[in-house]
């Protein structure tokens, strides 16, 4: 990896580097779909927080296709797929004592999610 030189810093920061991928990968879900997160407990990197595993949510919006960090960080495989904001009620995550109004939105990928039945 080349060393960042002083005369390249400003341009490098301004340009950035998106993890968005211009790939024609079909989305498994659409906004409004009910989903359940997988109960996975990998030893390596994952973006599915422990507090949201095995929980029911609703697809709020589809952000498009992004590199999948769970595989990219562990094996280098970018495995591009759709990333969504998934809406969970506070009660689904935290139980009956939580506010009936509050919501938690978590960005998750296709491989974190399954359709929720019923």
């Amino acid at each position: 990896m080349p060393v960042l030189q002083a005369d390249k810093v400003t341009e490098t920061l301004r340009r950035g580097g998106s993890a968005r991928v211009d790939a024609d990968v079909p989305a498994r879900f659409a906004p409004g779909d009910r989903v359940v997160t997988r109960n996975i407990n990998p030893l390596g990197h994952t973006r599915l927080p422990r507090y949201a595993r095995g929980r029911q949510g609703v697809i709020d919006r589809d952000h498009g296709v992004f590199i999948f960090p769970d595989t990219h960080a562990n094996t280098g495989d970018p495995k591009p797929q759709h990333c969504y904001s998934v809406l969970f009620t506070a009660r689904e995550l935290w139980g009956a004592d939580a506010s009936p109004r509050d919501k938690i939105y978590i960005d998750l990928w296709d491989d974190h999610l399954d359709p929720a039945d019923g």
Binding site: V3, V9, G17, R20, Y51, C83, L93, A98
Partner: protein, 202 residues
């Protein structure tokens, strides 16, 4: 505390010493250019910070077409004002209303929209905020002095992916006719994270 009676000839903290040691090693091995490091630090200390985000918010408060673009495609609307780049490549703007209040956190690390807010404050990166913002957002906000009515819906956004979130706070009452520049002065960093509101005009 006992058993630590020798004198250190340095006033640096253990963390500062560790950072200095790492910087020396990386420089000696040719992995970082010290001049590049100086420019990086200068950039985020003096050039890029929450005044950028405040200009975005003030523009949205005064220009309905801009606000519409901002909410539909945050990245390109923010880029119109020249704020682009690292940790702001894919921006999403969340609008606060009288019935909805948004709060941003990164429970996994410290993801933060650098081009509009600069580098995150220490508390944003600390475990207490990261762990409690999702389970007790109202309690966390109350500690910042922000108490919301029970009938306001709180939406917490956990930045677990490469999207970066900016809260568009409500425009305070009594600001009709204020210039965009004067309005930007009312927009605090915390109001764009969701731990505060925009300031009332004096």
């Amino acid at each position: 505390m006992t058993g630590h009676d020798h004198q250190h000839d340095s006033s640096l903290s253990p963390t500062e010493l560790r950072v200095k040691a790492l910087e020396s090693l990386l420089t000696e091995k040719g992995l970082v250019d010290p001049a590049a490091l100086d420019i990086l630090i200068e950039t985020y200390e003096n050039k890029v910070g929450p005044r950028n985000g405040a200009r975005v918010v003030a523009r949205a408060w005064t220009d309905p077409d801009y606000k519409k673009r901002l909410l539909e495609d945050g990245s390109s609307a923010i880029a119109e004002l020249g704020y682009t780049g690292r940790q702001g490549e894919d921006m999403v703007v969340l609008e606060n209303t009288p019935s909805v209040h948004n709060l941003v956190v990164c429970t996994l690390c410290s993801c933060y929209p650098w081009p509009v807010l600069g580098l995150p404050p220490v508390w944003y990166k600390a475990a207490p905020y990261r762990s409690r913002a999702v389970i007790d957002p109202r309690g966390v906000m109350a500690e910042f002095g922000l108490v919301l009515d029970d009938d306001v819906e709180v939406r917490v956004w956990d930045s677990t992916a490469e999207l970066r979130y900016l809260v568009l706070p409500e425009r305070p009452a009594g600001t009709d006719g204020m210039s965009e520049e004067a309005l930007a002065e009312l927009v605090t960093r915390d109001s764009m994270i969701g731990t505060g509101l925009a300031l009332q005009p004096k």
